[in-house]
Amino acid sequence: MLVPNRNVWEARIQNLDALLTASSNGQTEVYYLATVCQVGIDPPLVSVSPNPEYPICRTIEASGRFGLSFLAHDQGGVVDRLLGFDGSEPDKLALLGLEYDRTEGGTPLFRDCLMALECRVERAWDSGDHRTFIGEAIERRVPEARRGATPRRFGGGRGGRGHWARALACRIGLIDLATAVQHWRRPPQSIEEGTREYIPAESQASAPSSGRFRAGPEIPGVCLVGCGWWGGVHALELKRQGPRIRRYFASRNRERAAEFALRFDGEDHFDGLEAALRDSRVDAVVLALPHHLHAEACISALDAGRHVLVEKPLALTVDEGEAVVRRAEDAGLCLAVAEQYRLSPLVIRARELVQGGRLGRVTLVQAGAVGSYRPPQSWKQAVETMGGGVLLDVGIHYIDVLRFLFGEPERVWAAVPPRADSALEGEDAAVAVLAFVDGPVAQLQLSWSGHRRPGAPNLELIGERGALELCFGRRELILSTPITSGHWSNRVRARLPWRVEQRLSRWLPRAHRRRIRVPGADPIGSGALIEDFRLAIIGRKAPSVPGREGLRDLRVLTAAYESIARGQAVRIEPVQR
């Protein structure tokens, strides 16, 4: 009986168990993997694909070499011990308790293994959620004690408790029957959706960790500064963290801060940022303040030694933003920018589809929001405190998402129509066109004053092989791909007289339209944003949107405003990485 595979492990494309090792600058890393394969004979090339969130990748890149020690069938205990360690554990090699030798290049190779190789890295690139390294094998060792032994297969291979019972059940058809019942009760999902259930959400959401900073305590004290409307969204997500963080609230309006502390399980409240920074229980701050206060508040918090998650924009000018980022880097503290759309499971899934080539080369993008936002009130109506209009307040999110999907734009052109809302000093509608380096041209439409069909997509990606729609109000993506010439509807069309075809055309599909369900109750990523910040401040990972990324968003935004002022397209300086 042939049944669909429910996850990547059922496809059995993993091979032999091996330990990947690398050493650089006094740091030695070891990583378990079953995804080694040879990719060339002359020269002998070997490929491995570790998870880029683990420090092994950085160590391999720094040293330019990696070691592979293939395990024998009875070395399952080594795998179990290694899998029990935390990924960031600095001394895994010593904890593992295995003896090893170093090659001339400094790569550790285990003595007790089936075979060991040292490889010099020839190529490396990101492939899906892993990083693939190709290395030329430059040294091979076969320990005498294990010569001729059986290699260890992924999962341990045959044997183990209950193997013969399973084999018998398989032979007499019990497995077939059980699987048929299981499929009847729960129809098999796609291999990708099934795999997704086993991958931690934080791992799906996070970009590879790129830097380290001084970590805070395991249960950090986080103070929300600014108890306005959007501050309430952050407060709710902070409350959802439960006992994993201690919550504090600060506002110039002390009563408002006290109310937030009561509603969102706060330990204490303060009358403003300065008071919060004086309290040693506060390890980090979430700044949800009027835009003109962002840079100053960030610098105060960083100077006081606190990690910072600041609402977008990072600052009102690029110079201010640069100063904030430098201050965080000098202090070794975490500076994250609240670009939560990047952490939305919808955006992450869309990015996977784009990078996986499902749409082919993406050429055009339509993005933006019309009439779907709360109209600006109080400080958002004044340019002095707001810094701009809808382009700044909403557009920067889409600029960030587009950069996340397609890299850096090289040119931007923007224009604004006459204002419809007289109470607003900034623009209430805008259009921006961004041209990406070797990527698509994206059109951004933003309006607080216009009306558009509810449920219209916020992002539409048009590629050579299909189009993808994303709407933040829905929990699904819609993928449209063209039907092939041999599709039944095209064959029917070809046989019908033109008049008949016109009448029947609404029933004859022209494209495959597939709904890709994206599970999760956090479509805009506001919960993932707080979790991402928590993991960053306890030192588990770098923030997904660090200050530098927020600064790049600000550069693009500033160029868009410059384009409006000059009435022509503006070139954006390439990013120095």
Partner: protein
């Protein structure tokens, strides 16, 4: 792998020549790669394959440019990967030692074929069989690395307790 296997059979008594026996080849699982394009189809044995990514589900396969399969995969942009189990040694050797340019290996080996929705020939009598869309292609010295996204994947329940076939099952211990 086909020409390497041929080298093994031809020169088994001369361990100085065969890369399998001199340690120039790593032990690994064994699979059949199927491909089809414009009324031509082929199947070949590979051992240069591994998983590349969980999400999206990617698998990489290295194929020599001299193979017919290389041409068919390049032209169609799709390939099928069917993992072999123990007990299928003769099938692995058969598909690895003949050229698809001279005969239809599907017919000669008596392989049952099931087409995926995308038209990729899948082999239901293997441990697992998957249809993969090529998303990346990397040219290397003597092989081309195709990275494919698995779009359709099945397993044969009858073989769910069977171990995968290794190269060392075909030719004996590779570290001996």
């Amino acid at each position: 792998m086909c020409y390497v296997l041929a080298m093994i059979t031809r020169r088994r008594g001369d361990p100085g020549v065969s890369p399998y026996l001199t340690g120039a080849i790593l032990d690994n699982g064994v699979a059949l790669v199927t491909s089809a394009h414009r009324h031509r189809a082929n199947v070949m044995t590979v051992s240069f394959f591994a998983e590349s990514s969980h999400l999206p589900v990617l698998v990489r396969v290295a194929i020599s440019p001299s193979c017919l399969t290389h041409q068919l995969v390049s032209d169609s942009g799709w390939f099928g990967l069917s993992v072999l189990g123990r007990g299928q040694e003769s099938l692995a050797l058969f598909c690895g030692m003949r050229s698809g340019r001279e005969e239809s290996k599907f017919e000669a080996a008596g392989l049952r074929i099931q087409s995926s929705p995308e038209g990729v020939p899948l082999l239901p009598d293997c441990l697992t069989t998957s249809a993969c869309r090529v998303v990346e292609r990397v040219e290397l010295a003597d092989h081309t690395l195709f990275v494919g996204e698995i779009t359709t994947s099945f397993r044969q329940l009858r073989y769910s307790c069977r171990e995968g076939l290794l190269v060392s099952d075909l030719i004996g211990p590779m570290t001996g």
